[in-house]
């Protein structure tokens, strides 16, 4: 009853404003302030109020990170199956592949960054929260193995809610598989730069994301092992706002540097050169 009256009142109220144009707005999950969506998009999904770096699709990340037309995607056709015969999992996989146009939560391949060749991996949180199942595990493992063989540096953009629950123990084992491949790449002298983006949590934090020689994070992104709600349930109190943000992990010593999106490409390029990885043509000239 009361609800009905309320609806009528809001309807009348809204009718009055009909003429006024309301641009679509972005409400920031960090500072809760709203900004025009167009402004947020112009900044490549950075909150103009608090500098929170929002989530990008793999394609959007690729576009602002590598040299134009340099990306060669690998293992593109790999698709997950259903090891536990988990209810509705297959349907969910094909539905997502159709709607967002990628087969699972990571895209890997080679590219150049300001001319320097790299092996690149970009996770996409739109696919089941970027969770790590068999496909994510296998692609990342192959990426590191390929890089070890070719002497390429690896750059991984992580974005994940953790393990892929629907794959159970098989998902957990991907932590061992990926970390093992990172370890072999490292022992062979390879450079690995991990770039933590929103969110980097659970089994991905507890495996390859935390194993970078250099760990970079974007401002205000969520980084942690356990979920915030799980911890609040354990300690029975609310956690401070900044808990598990990039700045918190930086202060605690688990992130080397926080780099803004607009500067990231040039920082990566500098770090690559500092480790002796130069643009292809230049290094060929030297030889």
């Amino acid at each position: 009853m009361l609800e009905d009256i309320f609806k009528v009142v809001t309807k009348r109220f809204n009718d009055g404003d009909k003429e006024e144009y309301k641009p679509p707005m972005f409400k920031c999950p960090r500072c809760s302030q709203t900004s025009p969506l167009i402004r947020y998009e112009e900044l490549h999904r950075v909150c103009p109020q608090c500098n929170y770096h929002g989530r990008l699709s793999a394609a959007e990340r690729l576009a602002i990170t590598v040299d134009k037309d340099s990306f060669r995607e690998m293992y593109k056709d790999m698709k997950g199956t259903d090891p536990l015969e988990f209810p509705d999992y297959k349907e969910k996989q094909s539905e997502l592949s159709d709607s967002i146009g990628i087969n699972d939560a990571v895209v890997v391949g080679t590219a150049t960054i300001k001319g320097t060749p790299v092996m690149l991996g970009i996770m996409d949180s739109r696919y089941m929260m970027g969770s790590m199942g068999s496909v994510v595990g296998e692609k990342i493992t192959r990426a590191f193995e390929y890089a070890t063989e070719k002497g390429l540096p690896v750059i991984m953009f992580t974005a994940s809610g953790g393990a892929r629950m629907q794959e159970g123990i098989v998902s957990l084992m991907q932590m061992a598989k990926t970390s093992g491949a990172v370890q072999l790449h490292s022992e062979a002298g390879g450079l690995y730069i991990s770039v933590m983006t929103d969110p980097t949590t659970g089994g991905v934090t507890a495996s390859f994301a935390s194993l970078g020689d250099i760990i970079i994070a974007e401002p205000k992104v969520l980084i942690g092992f356990a979920g915030r709600r799980v911890i609040e349930g354990t300690i029975r109190q609310k956690l401070p706002e900044d808990f598990q943000l990039a700045e918190f992990m930086h202060e605690k010593g688990f992130v080397d540097m926080i780099v803004e999106r607009r500067k990231l490409k040039s920082v990566l390029s500098h770090l690559l050169k500092l480790h002796g990885f130069y643009p292809q043509s230049a290094s060929e000239k030297e030889v």
Partner: protein, 268 residues
């Protein structure tokens, strides 16, 4: 092992009062055990016990997750939920084992890594990741045994090994069935249903290539006969440790990498 228990029935057995813990097994299986303490960085985590001892006279390094037998013991060992310093202690002792050419025996029995403020501040994710990565290339044999609960990354931090054995009723899972039900269905009370769907039993682990061996438990479960279950574990280790020690270390490392490398379900 003839009777087919459901995953749920097995979970009741591993949570039964009086189920033996690593502290009871150590004196039954090894001699000359000396416990070592601390990660040399922060502190000593009682959720993980580590030390050196002898298996049939051969020096070995022993690392295990500690469950309590009563509330006081559980308070001390935090219900077998380690903090980062626990995993770092394990890694320190594992590296020492490599240095002194001792095989490593890990006992897994944990609901998972501790989820708390201090654990996050000290890098729970990094600590687990480091163990998983470094155990891959430790140049000494590693055999792990899941005694009861193999809870997620907290178990895997002691679970990268040349061979994994499961006690007959033990489970190994990506998350507790309760947590699984609450995340996936927003209803923790459906944990029994989750336990059956998740495939967490010893047989499941062998089928997925996660475990190589099932160690039989006495009738009704390990708590019914500590002598017998200790004898079964001892018998397994007495055969497995010399076998792994005889192998060329480079071959062993290649096999260890491949053991995990081949797990996955995909098509292309």
């Amino acid at each position: 092992m003839g009777d087919k228990r459901t995953a749920w029935e097995r979970l009741q057995i591993i949570h039964a009062k009086g189920r033996p813990t690593v502290k009871e097994y150590i004196p039954m299986i090894f001699t000359d055990f000396y416990e070592m303490h601390g990660d040399r960085l922060y502190g000593d985590d009682k959720a993980i016990i580590g030390g050196i001892g002898r298996l049939n006279g051969r020096p070995v390094t022993i690392i295990g997750e500690v469950k309590g037998r009563d509330i006081n013991e559980n308070k001390a060992c935090n219900f077998a939920m380690p903090h980062p310093e626990g995993y770092r202690k394990a890694l320190r002792l594992a590296r020492q084992a490599e240095k002194f050419h001792r095989p490593i025996i890990c006992f897994i029995d944990t609901p998972g890594a501790f989820c708390g403020v201090a654990a996050e501040e000290r890098g729970q994710g990094e600590a687990i990741a480091k163990n998983i990565a470094e155990f891959t290339t430790l140049r000494t044999p590693i055999v792990s045994i899941v005694l009861g609960e193999g809870g997620s990354g907290g178990a895997l931090a002691l679970g990268v090994c040349d061979e994994l054995a499961m006690l007959e009723n033990a489970e190994y899972s990506v998350l507790s069935p309760r947590g699984f039900a609450s995340i996936l269905w927003k209803d923790a009370s459906r944990e029994q249903e989750a336990s059956e769907i998740m495939r967490i039993t010893a047989e499941d682990m062998v089928r997925f290539g996660v475990a190589e061996k099932i160690i039989p438990e006495p009738l009704g479960g390990a708590h019914n006969d500590l002598d017998k279950i200790s004898e079964n574990i001892h018998e397994y280790l007495s055969q497995k440790i010399p076998e792994k020690c005889k192998k060329d270390i480079d071959v062993l490392l290649k096999e260890r990498y491949t053991k995990f490398r081949k797990i996955g379900a995909f098509i292309e």
